[in-house]
Amino acid sequence: MCKIGIPRGMLFYDYYPLWAEFFEELGAKVVVSPKSNKEILNSGVLSCVDECCLPVKVFHGHVDYLKDKVDYIFIPKIISIRKMEYCCPKILGLPDMVKFSIEDLPPIIDTNINLRKNSYTSSKYKKAVYEAGKCVIKNSSKIRNAYKKAEESYQRYLYLLSKGVIPIEAIKMYNKTFVDLNYNSKKHDMSIMVVGHPYNIYDEYLNMNIISKLINKGIKVMTPEMVNKDEIIYYSAQLPKRMFWTYGRRIVGSAFSLIERDEVDGIIYLSSFGCGIDSILIDLIERKAKNKGIPFTLLTLDEQTGEAGIDTRVEAFIDMMKWRDKDDFNISTLR
C-alpha cells in the first residue's frame, strides 16, 4: 500500500482532516509524524537555515522524521487560499525550502494551491486536487469522490471548531462524539484569548501546553479559530488597509472582534522567534488592546524557551488581570 507522510506542522492544524481523509479514501496509508519533541526540534534546527522562524524549523524536523518511513511526503505549496490574499512567503516557499535542505527525501507531493484569482469550484483547483491524488491512483472520478468525502469530514471539523473545540482536541475527535473542551471552565471567572498562528498555539510542545494550563486554572480560552468567520471579516475591515494575509486577517480580525465585543479579559499573543508577519500583527493588536484597556502580553517562543520562564510570565499576567479586576470593581462602586 502506498504510504503518504503528513508532517505535523505548519498548516497541519488547519487541514489535517481534509488531507488525511482524502488520501485514505484513495486507499493510501497516511502516516503522521508524532507530536513535536526534542529530537524533531533538534533535527529541524540542524537541517533548516539558521535565520528561519521556529515553526518552519520544526516542520523540517517533522519531514526529516518521516523521510524514510513513507513513499511520498505531502507538502502542498499553499500560495493563496482566499481571493486577493496570500500566505506568508515562507509558506509559499515551504516545499522548496524543504527539498533543498534535507537530503534523501522521498518524492514530495507539492501541489500548487493558488486561489488568489480562482475559487474552490474552479477547474484550476480541481486540477490541483487531481495532481495531489494521482500519486496514489490515476483515476479521476475516484479522486473526485475521495475529495468529496474528505470535504465532508472537514466541514465537521470546522463545525467543531466553531463550537469552541480547540483544534488540538478537534483533530483527535473530529469523527467521534463532540465534547466541549472548555466544559471544565464553564463557570470561568476569566477568559483569555490566546492568539497567534495555529502552529504556535496548537503545537503543545513548542508552547509548553499553555492552553491546557490556562484551562486547568479555570480560565476560558479563546483562539482565533473559534471566532465566527463573518465576525472576522467584519472586524478586520476596520483596518485602514486591506489585510492581504489570510492568517493575518484571521488573527487580527478575531482579536479585534473579541476586544470590541468585550468578550475577553486579556490577550496572550504567542509568537515565535523570527516570525516576520507577527512583527506587524502584534503591533496592530497591541495598539487596539491598549486603546480599549485590555491587558496584553507577548510570549515569544524560541529554541531555548524554558517551561519555567513561560509559566512565570503567564502567572504574572493572570495576577495582573486579577488585580485589575479588583481595581475596576472599586472604580465602579465609587461611581
Binding site: 509559499l92 522548496d96 506587524i280
Partner: protein, 369 residues
C-alpha cells in the same frame, strides 16, 4: 505642502527633480546616517525588517527639516512591505507628528485610488505636465544608475580607486544645490566626463561578483555598508541584480507583462523555485544562476535579518552553488552589523575567489582542460 519620501539609493535624485519640475516643494531626507538608523530603531517594532527602521529614521529627519507630507509606494502582499504604511503612520502620529502619508498602491487595487493619491500629491494642472516630468524623471533614474554602475566599474580598473570616491562625493554634495531636471542632467554629464577620465589599467582582470538579495538592501549603500565601494577598492568588479532602473522597467514601463530581464530570471530560477515567494526571493535565485552563467567568480546575497523571501532563497542557494559551481556567500544585515567583521568576511570571500581562479589556471596549464 512640503513633500518628502524615504531613501532608496540614488532614487532621491530623480524624485526630487521630478517633483520640482511639477512645481512642488521637496525636502529629501538627509543622507542615511547612523543617526537615521538610531532614530528608526528606537521607534520601530523590534522585529520589523531593517528597511522599515531606516524609513522611519528618514521620515523623522525630513520632518525636522520641514516636510509635512510623505510619499511612498505600496504593495499588497505577500511581503511585509505592503503593510509598512499603516504601521509607519501610527508611529508618526503617536510621536505627535501631524504628517500626511500618501501611498501609491499597485493599479490592481483600484485606479481611482491611485489617481486620487496623484492629484493630492502633485497639484496637477494637466496630465501632460505629469507625463513630461515623468519622462524626465525616468531619464534621471537611468542616468543616476548608469553613473553608479560606471563608478563601480572604474573602481575595479582605476590606478587609484579613491579618485572615484572623490568624484562621487563631490557629485552627491552638488546634488543638494541643484534644482530641476535640466540642471541635474547637466551635473550628471559632468560627473560622467570626470569618471571617464580617470586613469585606468586596462590589463587588470578583476574578480567579478554579482550582488543579489533583497532590493532595498542592494540599492541603499548605507544599509549594505557600502558593499560596492568596499569591493571596488579591493579591485573587484561589482554588478547588482536589482537597480531602480530595472525596477521601473519591470513594474512600470513594461506593465503588465514585466521586463525581459526579470522574466528571464524567473526562467532561470524555475528548476529551484517555480512560484513567487514575495519580495525578490525568486529573483535572488534566478540572478545567482544568471551570474554563474555569465562567468562571474562569485555571488553575494544580501539578507536583512528576518527577511522572509530571502530566507527562502537562502535555503535554496546551496544547491545553486553546487549545480553551477560558483561560490555564494550570504551577508545578514541588521542594525548591529559591525563594520570590521563585515570587511573581514568580504576580504576572505575575495581571497577565496582569487585562489579558485589561480587553481583553475594551474589546472588548465597542467591538464589542458
Amino acid at each position: 505642502m512640503i513633500l518628502t519620501f524615504p531613501h532608496l539609493g540614488n532614487v532621491y535624485i530623480a524624485g526630487k527633480a521630478f517633483l520640482e519640475e511639477l512645481g512642488q516643494e521637496v525636502v529629501p531626507p538627509p543622507r542615511c546616517s547612523s543617526r537615521t538608523l538610531e532614530i528608526g530603531t528606537k521607534y520601530s517594532p523590534e522585529n520589523i525588517c531593517l528597511p522599515f527602521k531606516v524609513n522611519i529614521g528618514n521620515y523623522i529627519e525630513s520632518i525636522e527639516k520641514g516636510a509635512d507630507t510623505i510619499l511612498i509606494t505600496g504593495s499588497c502582499g505577500p511581503c511585509r512591505f505592503g503593510y509598512y504604511s499603516v504601521l509607519e503612520q501610527n508611529i508618526l502620529w503617536d510621536l505627535g507628528y501631524e504628517v500626511d502619508m500618501i501611498v501609491f498602491d499597485p493599479i490592481s487595487e483600484g485606479l481611482d485610488q491611485l489617481k486620487e493619491g496623484l492629484s493630492k500629491a502633485l497639484n496637477i494642472n494637466s496630465y501632460k505636465d505629469v507625463i513630461k516630468a515623468g519622462k524626465l524623471g525616468w531619464k534621471l533614474i537611468q542616468k543616476a544608475d548608469y553613473l553608479t554602475q560606471l563608478s563601480n566599474e572604474k573602481r575595479a580598473y582605476a590606478i587609484d580607486s579613491y579618485e572615484v570616491d572623490a568624484i562621487m562625493e563631490e557629485y552627491y554634495k552638488n546634488i543638494e544645490n541643484t534644482f530641476g531636471a535640466e540642471k541635474m542632467l547637466k551635473l550628471m554629464d559632468e560627473v560622467e566626463y570626470s569618471l571617464k577620465n580617470i586613469p585606468i589599467d586596462k590589463s587588470k582582470n578583476p574578480i567579478r561578483i554579482g550582488i543579489v538579495g533583497e532590493i532595498y538592501t542592494i540599492i541603499e549603500p548605507f544599509v549594505n555598508l557600502e558593499v560596492e565601494k568596499k569591493l571596488g577598492h579591493m579591485g573587484v568588479y561589482v554588478e547588482k541584480s536589482l537597480t531602480p532602473t530595472k525596477w521601473v522597467k519591470h513594474h512600470v514601463t513594461s506593465f503588465p507583462f514585466g521586463s525581459k530581464e526579470e522574466n528571464m530570471k524567473y526562467q532561470l530560477a524555475k528548476p529551484y523555485l517555480s512560484t513567487l515567494v514575495g519580495g525578490h526571493g525568486r529573483e535572488t535565485v534566478g540572478s545567482a544562476v544568471y551570474y554563474a552563467k555569465q562567468g562571474f567568480d562569485g555571488v553575494i546575497q544580501l539578507l536583512p535579518l528576518n527577511c522572509m523571501p530571502e530566507i527562502v532563497a537562502k535555503s535554496i542557494l546551496p544547491q545553486v552553488q553546487k549545480d553551477c559551481n560558483i561560490p555564494i556567500m550570504t551577508l545578514v544585515l541588521d542594525e548591529m552589523t559591525g563594520e570590521a567583521g563585515y570587511l573581514t568576511r568580504l576580504e576572505a570571500f575575495v581571497d577565496l575567489l582569487m585562489r579558485r581562479r589561480e587553481e583553475r589556471k594551474v589546472g588548465e596549464l597542467l591538464f589542458g582542460c
